[in-house]
């Protein structure tokens, strides 16, 4: 009998599989398909202080082995999430959830993280300083070590749960930013958010996305994500959550060998709504075949 459990910032997860923010809503649509309590946990849709519609449509585009999105943090606002969505979530998800928080100013991040981290069923807070689809905030905090440290330190003071900072790959040195977050008090880092990209409709001679640019994700980004997880693992002592193009049990294992303590599954949920269930069911068999008794033992094994 193999052991798929991992420990993440003091929280024991039955397995390392975590649906990524923005690809799993608040879990309700997936709870209609399978018992989502089999998940390690999940990261819910990025939430901001005010309700947001996001960017104009079209905000989805096809790419080779991946996709672009320019949703732009559509969400009902942190008050509605805390007052309605999180209490309702308890009915279909019994485990502590990961709350993903976006923002446009340090004050906004502080307000949202303080509020959401007090919710009983929030176990971890994922601070999104890497959304490429909003202006005047989001990724601008995630592209300089100083700004990343400033927002991390401010949020750390008020956040009642372990704080994981979600990093942008659209930088020269992601390890330096991860280190700055660790020094500012982050309990973990997660990476990668989407890579900034675009497509052009060659018949219309115009960008496909109404917002012109968007975040690239899907199978194609896996090697880039894996390399960044590998680099960040060497730079920090706090746990690293790996994500980016993972869509199989082998991908989860590979990401963990690069240094991930847990692995988020993103775009693959949109193409195959059962993918996380399939990965969780496939993990023990793949572990046995690879001679892995405890999944936690392989974290960083490739170093």
């Amino acid at each position: 009998m193999v052991d798929t459990s991992v420990c993440l910032c003091g929280m024991k997860l039955e397995n390392p599989v975590i649906p990524a923010s923005g690809t799993f809503g608040y879990g309700a649509e997936f709870a209609e398909l399978y018992d989502i309590n089999i998940l390690g946990t999940f990261s819910f849709k990025g939430t901001t202080k005010q309700a947001r519609f996001g960017n104009p449509t079209p905000r989805i585009a096809e790419c080779s082995a991946g996709m672009l999105n320019s949703v732009g943090l559509q969400n009902p606002g942190v008050d509605e999430v805390c007052e309605k969505i999180l209490p309702a979530m308890k009915k279909y998800f019994k485990k502590p959830v990961m709350a993903n928080i976006g923002g446009f100013s340090v004050e906004e991040y502080v307000y949202c993280c303080e509020k959401v981290s007090q919710a009983e069923n929030v176990g971890l807070v994922e601070l999104n300083i890497s959304c490429p689809n909003v202006h005047g905030g989001g990724m601008s905090f995630g592209t300089s070590p100083e700004e990343a440290a400033r927002v991390t330190a401010a949020v750390r003071k008020v956040c009642k749960k372990p704080l994981i900072v979600k990093l942008s790959p659209n930088v020269t040195d992601i390890a330096a930013i991860a280190k700055a977050c660790e020094d500012a008090g982050a309990d973990g880092v997660s990476l990668i958010n989407t890579l900034l990209g675009m497509r052009i409709d060659i018949k219309k001679r115009r960008p496909v996305l109404a917002n012109k640019k968007g975040g690239f994700s899907g199978d194609a980004v896996f090697p880039v994500a894996l390399r960044m997880v590998y680099e960040v693992y060497e730079a920090v002592k706090i746990p690293v959550i790996g994500m980016g193009g993972v869509s199989s049990a082998d991908g989860v294992i590979e990401m963990m060998m690069a240094g991930a303590s847990a692995v988020e599954i993103g775009s693959a949920n949109l193409v195959d709504p059962f993918i996380c269930k399939k990965i969780i069911e496939a993990l023990p068999g793949r572990m046995e075949a690879l001679g892995i008794a405890r999944l936690a033992d392989i974290i960083g094994a490739a170093h």
Binding site: G22, T23, F24, G25, E29, F30, E32, L33, K45, A51, F53, G54, T57, P58, R59, I60, A61, E62, C63, S64, A65, G66, M67, N69, V71, Q74, P76, G218, D219, S267, N269, L270, V271, D272, P273, F274
Partner: protein
């Protein structure tokens, strides 16, 4: 929503760039006309959302237009092939609001989901009047099929090559006394239909989708009640909800 494998029984061209695909498989996921499926295609990352024209106990009919690489690949799938669909997606049309003589307005590739609607209304003893608009005679499809399940069918083409010349609204303004309306087609047509309509009605929208089942919020639309997902909260919305 269900995920299921279907067998392609037929996949043939029925008009210029328009294909009809008949599939065999489990249709228990469908509960109303106007729902859609999300089709997995080899070599493409995202699924392709396609409206359902008709379904019965074990067959599903999709009519789709080739608009890009994905639908072009779909048009080349051979009979006997197996394809992976997410089925029973979205909220379809609400037939209970129709009244005795509803008006059904379809434009181009917006026509297919209205077929099952019209058929069901007709089976309930309602007297649906149908206006179908196409660019040209070569783009037309399903006129005879509609004629068998409607009180009256009016066809309009933009170039006048068949039926009346003009737009669906040119025919619509000559029709009065309808009890309700249902429409599907390009957004400018839908907005014009809503402005002209004397009654309440329902509109089916199309949008680029990521997942098709409400997870990614890629396809949202502003409504009177805030942001709604076309895939999960729609694709059918009331005229009132869209503020059109």
């Amino acid at each position: 929503m269900q995920q299921a494998l279907y067998t392609v029984a037929e996949n043939q061209k029925i008009a210029d760039g328009i294909y009809k695909m008949t599939l065999l498989g489990d249709t228990s996921g469908f509960s109303a006309p106007g729902q859609f499926v999300n089709v997995k295609l080899d070599g493409f990352y995202l699924r392709r959302p396609i409206s359902v024209c008709h379904y019965n106990s074990n067959t599903l009919t999709l009519i789709y237009k080739v608009v890009g690489g994905g639908t072009d690949a779909m048009s080349k799938i051979a009979r006997g092939a197996s394809i992976d669909l997410l089925t029973g997606l979205g909220n379809g049309f609400d037939l209970s609001a129709s009244g005795d003589s509803p008006l059904i307005v379809g434009g181009g590739v917006g026509v297919p989901p209205l077929y099952r609607l019209c058929r069901d209304l007709f089976a309930q003893g309602k007297r649906p009047t149908v206006i179908l608009g196409f660019n040209s005679e070569k783009d037309m499809f399903y006129i005879d099929e509609f004629a068998r399940v409607a009180y009256d069918v009016r066809v309009v083409t933009a170039d006048g090559s068949f039926g009346d010349k003009g737009l669906v609204t040119d025919v619509m303004h000559t029709i009065s006394g309808y009890s309700y309306f249902y429409a599907c087609g390009p957004v400018p047509m839908l907005k014009a239909v809503c402005r002209m309509a004397d009654t309440d009605g329902q509109i089916s929208l199309e949008e680029r989708m990521g997942c098709g089942f409400g997870a990614c919020m890629g396809c949202s639309v502003e409504t009177a009640a805030g942001a709604k997902r076309v895939c999960k909260d729609g694709p059918v919305f009331t005229k009132e909800a869209l503020k059109w």
